[in-house]
């Protein structure tokens, strides 16, 4: 058993990060996917995670959404523990009720959009605010329409997902996640399932979010050019660890580690 007394019940001080992974380990059986990960993301920062498949990048986002339990360490969001709760002065694994409240500050968009097929675009966006946040239909509608306008989908608000292209579905999914007013947004390979010609419409929405909103964002992507353009920091993951990280120009322009160089040149060749 891990000694939990080394983890603070709350992060305090002037420079509390929006997200902190503290010594986080994730295992599937005997396979260690993430090994003692330490990662801070400050408020308003856009961090992109790159790396070969199997390096644990998607797992980082899924743990932050609490879709995956962790086997060691603690994740903090906005100074408060996300994966744990305080009990008798120490942190213990959070129960379902605590997790439900804790994860409400996090929004996520998925590779395969996962829109609710039995609801229109507008209903998809209103569902969380009405059912979870308890907003009135009127308030939820106003909020959702504003967001659908922002992602350029207001004309299609009454269409079901089956009538929308992949790019359109992903834009609705972004609006749906934003309608919950998260502090942290997670983008998990949101362009990987899209046809090349519609990738731009989704990346443009994310660009707009970065430039106009002070959201904290974590993104996993294979679009290196896009990542370089919009990220404040790139983390290169290899074998469950951060092999190298830094500002995009430094990491893409003059990578220091051999594995980073190999990965980037392999990706460049594929392009």
């Amino acid at each position: 058993m891990e000694d939990m007394s080394r983890y603070p019940l709350e992060l305090t001080g002037a420079d509390v990060p929006m997200v902190r992974f503290m010594n986080v380990t994730k295992r599937y059986g005997s396979l260690t996917v993430l090994d003692s990960l330490d990662l801070d993301v400050t408020e308003g920062e856009m961090v992109t995670i790159i790396g070969p498949s199997g390096s644990g990048k998607t797992t980082v986002l899924r743990m932050l959404m609490t879709l995956e339990t962790i086997n060691g360490g603690v994740i903090y969001v906005d100074g408060k523990p996300l994966t744990h709760m305080a009990k008798n002065g120490v942190l213990v694994p959070a129960d379902a009720k605590y997790l439900r409240r804790a994860r409400s500050s996090i929004g996520m968009c998925f590779q395969h959009f996962n829109l609710f097929p039995h609801m229109t675009a507008l209903q998809n966006c209103m569902e969380g605010p009405v059912q979870v946040l308890g907003l009135s239909k009127k308030e939820a509608r106003a909020r959702s329409e504003e967001l659908l306008e922002m992602v350029g989908m207001i004309d299609k608000k009454d269409q079901h997902p089956s009538r929308l292209s992949g790019g359109q579905q992903q834009r609705v999914a972004i609006a749906r996640a934003l309608a919950m007013r998260p502090k942290v947004m997670l983008f998990d390979e949101v362009t990987s399932a899209l046809d090349p010609e519609v990738i731009g419409e989704v990346t443009n929405v994310i660009r707009k979010l970065v430039s106009e909103h002070n959201l904290t964002m974590l993104m996993v992507t294979h679009q290196m050019g896009f990542a370089r353009d919009i990220s404040d920091r790139i983390c290169f993951f290899f074998a469950g660890k951060i092999e190298e990280q830094g500002p995009p120009d430094a990491l893409f322009g003059s990578p220091q580690r051999d594995r980073t160089k190999q990965f980037l040149s392999a990706v460049k060749e594929a392009d």
Binding site: R103, G128, R176
Partner: protein, 221 residues
Amino acid sequence: MSYLDFLAEHGGRYIDGTLITAAQFLLAAVLAILLALIAGLMKLSANPIAKGVAVTYIEFFRGTSLLVQLFWLFFVLPLFGITFDKFTTGFIAVGLNLGAYGAELVRGAIQSVPKGQWEASYALSMSPATQMRRIILPQAFVAMLPPWGNLIIELLKGTALVSLIAVSDLMFEARQINGSTYLSAQAFGTALVIYYVFARLLVTPFMRWLERTMRRRMGRA
């Protein structure tokens, strides 16, 4: 005696019997659907007691004969001081039996909803109850409608067994008429036709309509 004479003489009893069969069918169907939903959800529960109850119910009622269950409810339960009238016993037995089959349809349909739907609703911080009610069940419902159409017809035909505890349904009337007239071909032939018409012209079109409506609501018309 022509068949028309036969109908003129016994038609009223066939109508009475058909109405009783229709009532047995509707009540048993409502009960079966409710039980299937409850047992199907319980079988997926993480709570071992809830799961155990559901598994026991499904195994018992699927694994034994409907006729024996009917006789058990009617003749054995009174020995324990529980007595229902024969009409009630009839639809309860049919509902319990078909509900056990339906529970497996409910469970299967819930599990067939893609993982991404569970994750997306979880990511919106939905409670498990809201997630089930608003996201999973509506989709599971569409997936399970076609097999339910089958089961509901099975249920209709299963109600014929209640005649054996003297519920005066369609089958009961047919047997009575056969007993008094010895016109077996007409007596049972008429009942066959009525069961078929009931299934083919009422139940099946209704289920088809429901499937179409639900598909439209899913935006896949």
